[in-house]
């Protein structure tokens, strides 16, 4: 369900960042295999990173925030899909020409200008997802556009960059990443913030995804495309929402973010009216000497402390719902957790949940000198962590009095809301990659001409080929469009049959529990070839598809073992004779009930009727 907002009145502005992995053989700056995820892990290393001053001497806000966490990062190293370049122990090799060419093809299809000279840059990253503490990225296109529902959506920039490594584990002591994904070529496509509604955001995402698929350079599969959404509203702030894996709930999550910002805006005036103030935290460990509150008791056993701070005028506001299952308390807690602590306890929560007694609560109120409208936040942890966690929580509380903070947030497709990830990063994270010479455009375009994809033309071709207009439209949007094109190029077969099998048959089989994703391209080609040369009937195609995922045999053997060969011509005549039934309808029915998988109905029909005449 989407909310009923007047987006224009809200001053809603939205831009998209679409990230798509390319289907190249190798990674962007080394000869490791790209998109190879069944590799053998051969080693694990441990690293630490710190914030260093960037080009302008300033340490970027987001960078130092992550670095303050002082985390240990572990990296899984693989045999064929990682090397010394990945762990920052070898300079990058020259950029992958296949990826460069693909990126320029994409730029051409999005009507972008291509710089005459492309410079590889380093973008600082200190969340550990890159062992070098930066991501290599280059601007390959600018000033382009895509037309969506007759409206020009400007494509401000297209980047070719390194994919980050995949997170495997996130514990209190360390974060573990796997390096098979790191360095795979990734395309980022940015639109101008001209999108007026969440529904339009969804639509534009779909169209960009479609055009990317049509260039035949994109990698297929889960996680290979990701959408980030930048949104802002009047009196709110620019927020970047990351990690939309599926488009279905995009509009609802954006709506929830709007609702969150609107509620945060109203919180400002509420707090002002109450003369709200954030006080300094003090040590209140004494109160919990004999506590039965498990969470606190455990921390104290490990030499932890309890610190608490008074939030004057915040009572009732911390616990108030901002949007789908998200309160100001959630925000305070998410900030605090960046320090590595497990969470906070605040006064708008049910104390019974923690096992905090009435007496303890009274003592907290007394010690922190709480009035009727005042709230508290307490943290039980080791001292350093507790102090840092509290600093962050209180910082967030202070922000609540002035506005909506500019942040990078994560999309939660289950709760349909967004959660704080880190402060919005600034500009000083960019500096040139000194190990790689600038790339001249004409060098990339030598002996290579990027093809401009014309979506309208592809649409019309599909309409001509596939006799069912609905199927033609579905085929255009299907992830199997490339497969469809391959099949009709290699096999002499009706495109309508191919599309109906790829779209409808697969759906039907999936519902019946068949793992159709396991059928690879070559197998599809085999099956359609067998059909095209008359070795099997149409009905048998689905039967074979349901058998392939479970069977170790190839298509040919499955046909043999399951007696799925087509019976036709003389053999069919013989078979008909052997049935000795006079009534034509009865005869047809009887034969078909036994040989559905072997006989093409039309042929049988023709034969029986000819026989009679």
């Amino acid at each position: 369900m989407t909310k009923d907002f007047d987006y224009e009145k809200l001053g809603f502005k939205c831009g998209l960042e679409i990230h798509q992995r390319l289907s190249t053989k190798h990674k962007l700056f080394c000869k490791c295999l790209a998109n190879y995820f069944n590799d053998i892990q051969i080693k694990r290393i441990e690293r630490r990173q710190r914030a260093v001053a960037g080009e302008l001497g300033k340490i970027d806000k987001a960078t130092s925030f992550e670095s303050k966490k002082n985390r240990v990062f572990n990296y899984q190293i693989f045999e064929k899909s990682s090397c010394l370049v990945d762990i920052d122990e070898e300079p990058p090799h020259i950029p992958n020409i296949e990826a460069l060419r693909s990126s320029l093809s994409i730029c051409t299809s999005f009507n972008c200008e291509i710089p005459d000279e492309i410079q590889v840059m380093r973008k600082g990253v200190v969340d550990g997802s890159d062992p070098s503490a930066f991501q290599r990225t280059m601007l390959v296109g600018y000033d382009g556009k895509i037309v969506v529902e007759n409206k020009d959506i400007p494509i401000s920039t297209i980047f070719l960059e390194e994919e980050s490594s995949g997170i495997v584990k996130n514990t209190e002591e360390y974060v573990e990443y796997s390096l098979d994904r790191l360095g795979i070529p990734l395309i980022e496509i940015d639109t101008d913030p001209v999108i007026k509604t969440p529904q339009e955001a969804k639509r534009v995402s779909m169209e960009i995804g479609l055009l990317l698929r049509l260039t035949n350079t994109a990698q297929r599969g889960i996680g290979s495309i990701r959408q980030d959404v930048n949104i802002s509203i009047k009196n709110g702030s620019r927020v970047e929402i990351k990690g939309f894996q599926e488009l279905d709930s995009m509009d609802q999550i954006i709506d929830s973010e709007i609702e969150r910002q609107l509620n945060l805006i109203s919180v400002i005036s509420e707090l002002k009216e109450r003369n709200a103030k954030v006080e300094t935290a003090i040590n209140i460990t004494d109160i919990f000497k004999h506590t039965k509150a498990t969470l606190i008791e455990n921390q104290l056993k490990q030499n932890g402390v309890v610190i608490g701070a008074k939030l004057s005028g915040f009572r009732g506001i911390i616990g108030k719902n901002l949007t789908n299952d998200l309160r100001l308390g959630t925000e305070l807690s998410d900030y605090a957790k960046s320090s590595g602590i497990k969470g906070i306890i605040h006064s708008d929560e049910d104390m019974d949940k923690y096992g905090i007694t009435k007496k303890e609560l009274e003592e907290i109120n007394k010690k922190l000198e709480l009035g009727e409208n005042d709230a508290f936040v307490i943290i039980a942890e080791k001292k350093d962590k507790a102090v840092y966690g509290m600093e962050l929580a209180l910082e967030r509380a202070r922000m609540a009095m002035v506005g909506v903070p500019s942040e990078t947030r994560g999309a939660d497709s289950k709760k349909l809301n967004t959660r704080f990830l880190r402060p919005m990063s600034g500009k000083s994270r960019m500096y040139p990659e000194t190990d790689i010479l600038p790339i001249e455009k004409y060098q990339v375009l030598k002996e290579f001409k990027p093809e401009k994809i014309d979506v309208e033309k592809i649409k019309n071709t599909l309409k001509d080929e596939i006799k069912n207009p609905q199927l033609a439209e579905q085929m255009l949007w299907s992830k199997d469009l490339q497969l469809y094109r391959k099949i009709i190029n290699f096999v002499d077969i009706s495109p309508t049959i191919v599309s109906s099998i790829l779209l409808e048959k697969t759906k039907e089989l999936r519902r019946a529990g068949v793992d159709v994703e396991k059928i690879n391209e070559d197998t599809y080609l085999e099956i359609f070839k067998e059909y095209a040369n008359g070795s099997i009937v149409k009905t048998a195609i689905g039967e074979i598809m349901s058998l392939v995922p479970k069977s170790p045999d190839d298509v040919h053997n499955i046909i043999k073992q399951r007696s799925l060969s087509r019976i036709k011509g003389k053999d069919l005549e013989k078979l008909v004779k052997s049935f000795n039934i006079d009534d034509k309808t009865k005869l047809l029915k009887e034969i078909m009930s036994k040989y559905r998988m072997n006989i093409e109905g039309d042929e049988l029909n023709y034969l029986i009727n000819k026989k009679g005449s």
Partner: protein
């Protein structure tokens, strides 16, 4: 530098590097900061930094124009000046001698390359942990890449180290480029007498302007060795593994860079490592050093060095004429990196490849010829094969398990201090940990 045509255009429009400019080209407008032209590539391409931080290059067409928008403002970030790091927790006082190298490298936004910091402040600024370890006196000796280091620089470093000990330092840390760090560590091992504590060379494989640099842990571990151990030895302290977990402290005469780029490039060859130092300060001393006795004498730097020494490698069809060449140039000695147990071609089917007479000519005209092995691991032995025996007969000196680079440095040191006969006597005898008595079966680290 941009092409003359562009330079003229910029001049005409009063545009300087760093100014914000507007480019109107092929009907498209672009705004950004004019960046300097990298040395390589087409100098007709204008490089600008866009608002989003990316640099791109644009070729101006005939009708294209550039226009100045905002003048460049000089906003230089300067780090607080640090002459020393004061530590209040303990009385440890160490010296840090800065010489350059990757550990002190930064991106040069002008040339797009990496340059050496001229001030160590920036480096210390980024490693605040150092003040927990010791008080550190910082001295900037030079700022050069290690491939440019010469014996003049070894002399400066030796003198700087002696001076530091004589002013009360408990240990000395020297930051250095990695390429020739093991040559320097060997030179300091020979030149320094009566050192009072560890002399720890350290560096980095990746520059300290990146958050993942190995510089930080190397510097922390090196300072820990210098401040918290009594290992009176010159050594190299660098990453032991691919992880940021601990460093090895390797004897300065037994260390060798064994990888071009990996952070665990330095290995201990033919010897055990002296100690392991962990990121958290824990130190495991593995090898007792009793070679250098503790004395009350002042630390002395004996920096005499004969630069006319060479290091050559023998291989199939290598030309022995190289010895004649050095001889003619007045060289006093040459170390040969031989094959296997220490061989050069001597009984070849074509006599122009036979080194024997060249070795003889060299030694008889006053040169010292030392033999080491390109196997790196293991000890040379001239008695096993006839060829080796012949080389010894011609006066070549077999240098035990000494590394070729160390033998080269030692030869220069000996010839700077002694005559040919004494040099030949001392070359195969241990004086600074460069030769071990026994060859261990396996060295576990």
């Amino acid at each position: 530098m941009y092409s003359d045509k562009l330079e003229t255009l910029f001049k005409k429009n009063k545009i300087e590097i760093g100014d914000k400019i507007k480019i109107n080209n092929k009907g498209k407008l672009l705004e950004g900061i004019l960046m300097p032209r990298p040395e390589l590539g087409d100098n007709n391409i204008i490089v600008i930094k866009l608002n989003n931080g990316y640099n791109i290059g644009i070729t101006l067409d005939e009708k294209g124009t550039v226009e100045k928008l905002v003048e460049h403002t000089k906003e230089e970030f300067s780090f607080p000046k640090i002459k020393s790091v004061e530590n209040l927790k303990n009385n440890n006082r160490i010296s840090l001698l800065y010489t350059g190298g990757t550990i002190g490298s930064k991106i040069d936004y002008v040339t797009g390359g990496v340059y050496m910091l001229t001030k160590p402040e920036e480096l210390l600024h980024e490693v605040p942990e150092l003040k927990e370890i010791a008080s550190i006196d910082v001295k900037n000796l030079m700022s050069i890449a290690s491939e440019d280091v010469s014996y003049f620089d070894w002399q400066k470093m030796a003198e700087g180290t002696a001076e530091a000990f004589n002013s009360g330092a408990k240990g000395v840390v020297i930051t250095h480029g990695t390429d020739t760090m093991h040559y320097t560590s060997a030179a300091l091992s020979f030149m320094l007498k009566d050192i009072k504590g560890p002399v720890v060379l350290t560096g980095a494989q990746r520059s300290s302007d990146r958050g993942s640099s190995d510089a930080f842990m190397n510097l922390i571990c090196a300072s820990n060795i210098a401040a918290n151990t009594d290992i009176r030895h010159v050594g190299i302290c660098m990453h032991a593994t691919h992880s940021d977990d601990y460093c090895n402290f390797i004897k300065g005469t037994k260390a060798r860079k064994m990888h071009t780029s990996s952070r665990d490039a330095f290995k201990s060859i033919n010897a055990r490592i002296l100690a392991k130092v962990y990121q958290n300060g824990k130190i495991e001393v593995l090898e007792k050093i009793d070679e250098i006795e503790k004395t009350k004498n002042k630390t002395v730097a004996n920096t005499k060095f004969e630069p006319k020494v060479g290091l050559v490698i023998s291989y199939p069809d290598s030309d022995p004429g190289i010895l004649e060449y050095y001889n003619k140039k007045g060289f006093k000695g040459v170390i040969i990196e031989g094959t296997g147990l220490g061989h050069t071609p001597v009984s070849t089917s074509h006599k122009e490849y036979n080194w024997l007479s060249s070795i003889k000519d060299a030694t008889s005209s006053g040169m010292v010829i030392g033999i080491t092995s390109q196997c790196i691991n293991g000890r040379v032995n001239g008695n096993v094969y006839r060829n080796g025996r012949l080389m010894q007969e011609m006066g070549a000196v077999y240098c035990e398990d000494m590394l070729p680079e160390v033998a080269y440095v030692k030869l220069g040191f000996l010839l700077g201090n002694y005559n040919k006969k004494e040099t030949e006597r001392l070359l195969p005898i241990n004086i600074a940990g460069e030769i071990t008595k026994k060859t261990d079966v396996e060295i576990d680290e």
